[in-house]
Symmetry: C2
Subunit: 217 residues, 2 copies
DNA sequence: TCAGATAATGAATTGTTATTCATAATGTAA
DNA sequence: TTACATTATGAATAACAATTCATTATCTGA
């Protein structure tokens, strides 16, 4: 019944252990200041052992990133598939993103702080893969916006690509301070989805001021 | 008439030279991968010379960041002071931000990619200074939003702090892809301000769909 | 032109840390 | 239990890059 031969399962387990430890250390110190020794100690293995599971530091980092990113993307897609209508999908998109970040704080502390790092590694294969993944997902979001336009939920005069990115930026702007300020932890992230969606959909201008002046794209 | 004794002026000039070179190298390689030798070569000085002007690599980096950030903040404040009314001020805020990024591409490539870096250096004096500067500016933006609410330009039911941050996130979401994709360079950044303001103020929902469902903060 | 400063140089020093690998421990099957 | 295979260990290696500093060049004023 069990799909993995016990040996393989053990191996996977240890690999996961190391990934978890690495996530923690990277989140705390950042990619460059985290040493392999730090990670080894956190995982309660010797340094050499880590190299039995990962080719080098970068591979470890990329494995980490890919798994989480992939998980996030799958989850969002799944949940969006569970609801009907573009508006509901957009809501789920925002909510699930916030929920996932809340659950994976450590990783996303890395993700945001070392964000640009990826863009400098694009020369090698593994990170190119990750880039592709991100680009593909962005395409998916754009498609969602387009559909929303077709359903007359989102204004048709807006460029769907930029609109999707804008929404992403809004979500990020809420997540980042939450990650930084420990004191903000009280307020849950998920609770902010209403706020984001409200401004994204209805705008921040007070009703009386709306469209008061010509704003063109 | 000249306020600087010639010696001092020379010194300042060389310092500026080094800063310019460093900005370029940091932008290209990122903080960690940029070596002092790289920077020296770019500036056409010897490594040792750089240490005559800056205590160490980090000081160089921080000097860089501070000067640009300070310049950006001052500029935005000035320009905002030149116009009347909250709506106009908000427009200027977005426009000037985009304009400045467009003019200082190199620096902001650093600024965004190494963003989290600062948050890990908060232990020492210089970067704490920078943090304070950023916090202070954020406070200023919040005040602008508050004023806009008082003038009934921005909805009064919105938390001004979060609203300010959201707007910042929107601006960033437009700048980052522009920095990354060389091909997007055709379209000027400043031209995006209308798009950002439009969504920020009026929302992305098509008029018929607005407020269709209850979105609460 | 010369002495004494001032500034620039870059080879040598120092410290750090990713990575390797000979050795030890542990598991496995007979 | 023994021989073999697999896995873990961490001290030793190797590479790299920040920083220093003895030396050299340049400037300044007399």
């Amino acid at each position: 019944m069990n799909p993995l031969p016990r040996k393989a399962r053990d191996k996977l387990l240890r690999r996961t252990d190391i990934l978890r430890a690495a996530t923690h250390v990277f989140a705390e110190k950042g990619y460059h200041d985290a040493t392999m020794l730090d990670i080894a100690r956190q995982a309660e293995y010797a340094v050499g052992t880590i190299y039995l599971y990962f080719k080098d530091k970068q591979a470890l980092y990329l494995a980490l990133s890919e798994e989480k990113i992939e998980e996030l993307f799958c989850r969002i897609k799944d949940k969006m598939g569970e609801v009907q209508g573009s508006l509901a999908k957009i809501r789920v998109l925002v909510e699930e993103q916030l929920a996932y970040f809340e659950e994976n704080e450590d990783f996303f502390r890395i993700y945001f702080s070392e964000e640009g790092f990826g863009s400098r590694l694009v020369t090698d294969k593994p990170s190119r893969q990750m880039m592709e993944r991100i680009v593909k997902f962005r395409g998916y979001l754009t498609a969602v916006i387009k559909k929303a336009q077709a359903e007359n939920v989102i204004r048709v005069d807006l460029d769907p690509n930029r609109t999707a990115r804008l929404l992403g930026g809004m979500v990020k702007s809420i997540i980042i301070p939450w990650l930084k300020d420990k004191t903000l932890k009280e307020k849950d992230l998920k609770g902010s989805s209403g706020f984001i969606l409200d401004i994204f959909l209805n705008g921040a201008a007070s009703p009386s001021a709306k469209n008061r002046d010509a704003l063109c794209n």
